[in-house]
Symmetry: C2
Subunit: 511 residues, 2 copies
Amino acid sequence: MKKIKVKTALVSVSDKTDLDKLADYFFENEVEVISSGGTFKALKKINAKLKLIEVASYTSFNEILDGRIKTLHPLIHAGILADKSNANHKRQLNDLKINHIDLVVVNLYPFENTVKKNSDESICIENIDIGGPSLVRGAAKNYRSVAVITTPKYYEEFINEAEKNNNYISFKLRKKLASEAFKHTAYYDGVIANWFDKKNRIYQSNKNVLPLKKIHNLRYGENPHQKAAIFSLGNSSIKKIAGKELSFNNINDLEVAFELADNFKKSSCVIVKHGNPCGVALDDQQKKAYKKALACDRVSAFGGIVAFNKVVDGETANEVLKIFTEVIVAPRFSSKAIKIFSKKKNLILIEYKNKKPLNKLLIKSTKNFLLIQDKDLKNVEKNELKFFNKKPNKNLIDDMLFAFTVSKFINSNAIVISKGLATVGIGIGQTNRIDSAKQAIKRKKTNFGNVEAVLASDGFFPFPDIVKICSKNKIKAIIQPGGSLNDNSVIKEAKKQNINLVFTGIRHFKH
Amino acid sequence: MKKIKVKTALVSVSDKTDLDKLADYFFENEVEVISSGGTFKALKKINAKLKLIEVASYTSFNEILDGRIKTLHPLIHAGILADKSNANHKRQLNDLKINHIDLVVVNLYPFENTVKKNSDESICIENIDIGGPSLVRGAAKNYRSVAVITTPKYYEEFINEAEKNNNYISFKLRKKLASEAFKHTAYYDGVIANWFDKKNRIYQSNKNVLPLKKIHNLRYGENPHQKAAIFSLGNSSIKKIAGKELSFNNINDLEVAFELADNFKKSSCVIVKHGNPCGVALDDQQKKAYKKALACDRVSAFGGIVAFNKVVDGETANEVLKIFTEVIVAPRFSSKAIKIFSKKKNLILIEYKNKKPLNKLLIKSTKNFLLIQDKDLKNVEKNELKFFNKKPNKNLIDDMLFAFTVSKFINSNAIVISKGLATVGIGIGQTNRIDSAKQAIKRKKTNFGNVEAVLASDGFFPFPDIVKICSKNKIKAIIQPGGSLNDNSVIKEAKKQNINLVFTGIRHFKH
């Protein structure tokens, strides 16, 4: 494919970064520049000798509607859209007495930043650019004849290539820039669509987009042979205040850990490994919460991710330092805690800035599809519980609700055994429920002996067999969704074994 | 906000579906219609009495560049973009002797369908619509003054509202249509961007979009209180040939099951529950592959998802019917198999049409971010293995590679024990590796006694302790990535225990 020489450019930029570099390039290569408004003035100020033409004089049509109509004119668009290899197109431009436009440099009204800063709807609407995307899209479509630049980021690459090639631009660069241009306009409209659609009608619309703003590339993904990056769907931010670079798996783990920790009002501690909590506890004394969470499974906790829902204090920091931990995440760290943690230079400290989840949707890609669902933000309340024996006392109910909440964050089939608002045995991700139950019970026995405790299950018991096992292992209360065909025999067995059974009516599968 | 009355409409539709309904609405409400080309002709043919004006006569500017320039004219765009509540705008339209355009009905050149049907790049480029999106975006921006329709799907709702309200259109409907319009243009440009960017430069670009085409809403998500839908990122398709509606969890499971089954050349069977394989086997005889997969964990397999990589035959169908199964997925079913399966009317049969994965990216949303990585498509080959003892024989290596491949599809920490190309014990998703190993070994013992077998681990052994446990449980070979600080003591222990240790250099974490 042919190189094209840049003789005429159209420039309209709201972001004036590095405009002087572009002006130098225009001047040195004697490029004629069509421009208007602020861009025209800025270019003139940089270099009065530039060959500048105002859009209105070029089109003989004055800007109207407070700038809503400037470049939306056939004389501009014909220059952009004409195919240089087409003799008819050439002739038609001649008839109109206009030239090909070889380069379009446009960046769009800053809609996204305006929306972030300003809630006034009229100002937001005025920042929906109409003329800009038309120019960008036209130039990108016609990349065989035109080059298009949508952000100052590409000025250097463009100018370098022009300098090396006597102001000719290669097909390869033009195509790359066109690809970037359509990403740019697609992202721009995606952000606008999301602004319009605050209630997220993703389930009503047949076509949707997810605009993705990259935060940064990651060293690699779940494994070293996979490339990866982290994207923002909104204003979310975590702040690393110490330690080495976060890995893909670190981020995945810390997000689970903090979300669970943040689910509780009382001071909490959550330890996560491989995406699953291996210890969770609540205690007014943060240090004790940590010690209880750790006690649940010391083997797993080694090298884990630890989350707190309150400011981390020095006492806790000293305790956490006793074993190897990879990441600590909290809303904030006391200066004393930061000082104590600074002894371990690799230890990653993360301050979680946005406590409210911004993603209301849970997105998962499979082999060939994308599955999108509302996040499971349901927390079962006391008044939703269904009792079958005499109503348990408040402490027992609190323990059951605590265990059931934890089960929401564990891969299904999840079984959580707790005592005194601390997990004492967790069964994770087994392909059948009885194995998860056996696993949780075995862990309780190994680490805590045969203590009394309560058991939560993220899904219903398909058969009464688990109740029998519970009875043998001092489980005095069971909380589960209910809804099995065999509920009646499960209830019967619980009564027989004198176990306090509670149904939530809510399931918490997570895969 | 004020209702607006529709006096003038601009119509340009490549999809002529239900255009007659729209024409009737125009005629009955005496709406003046600005139009051109095929739409103008079609409207005239439907009703010669319509008040039709051609774009070229309206603008006094003839269509040029083979139709690339038609509506990109200030007289058109001023009519769309003028604010009806602004006296200056009103005066400027008067000066130009034009009216407000109250309704824009535009659907875009069918770029996506053209790309699907046609690989000729010039034809694809010609189907990038420039004028259409400019009209749609302008009207949507100015939704306080204009209504915009982008698909025949909305004609009925629009006409119904107009009929009920004396041809006035409410603010609510205009805003909804504007929101749909920006989704439409964002999706359109997202598809174009992906077409340009065949190598997927998601890691190079700062802004990206995922265009999402909804296949259909699902009854609910992972749990009944979560809304959900399934989206396509490409041409993927699965065909349900029998049974009840697929649930969210069914789809998630069958995608894992088929992807793993399809990883093997030999006839394979995979049984999945809760997103994890609970039995996998290869055998030239399909029925035997099923029986072996089932034998690995009969308790978990109950109500499972079963995948085959070859056409399902009648013999296999009879075998599968012996226990309760929810979904069977395969490239195809023999007519005999279909007849046999038809005895169970709820049983879901899925023919998998696209064997190649279309999604090269794995997308996962967390509390506040989107993590995107390349899919883990790596399959370790024989020549990549690193041996430390005498090289094992071919059968043993085949078994090790089989087990290691299975481990890629199991939640980490994953341990897979196999014998004769069939799993005999699986350890799933534990927060520490030794517990996964113990679990897999216990399952082997329970279901197969103390048979000799090989063991695969998706991640390295952090300590030599697992080797000792293996030795006590007749594991004669271990395949794992290697890469631990303690590799040397692991190798030493394996030599001591006379276990054939193999390193892959590749890790298969999956969370």
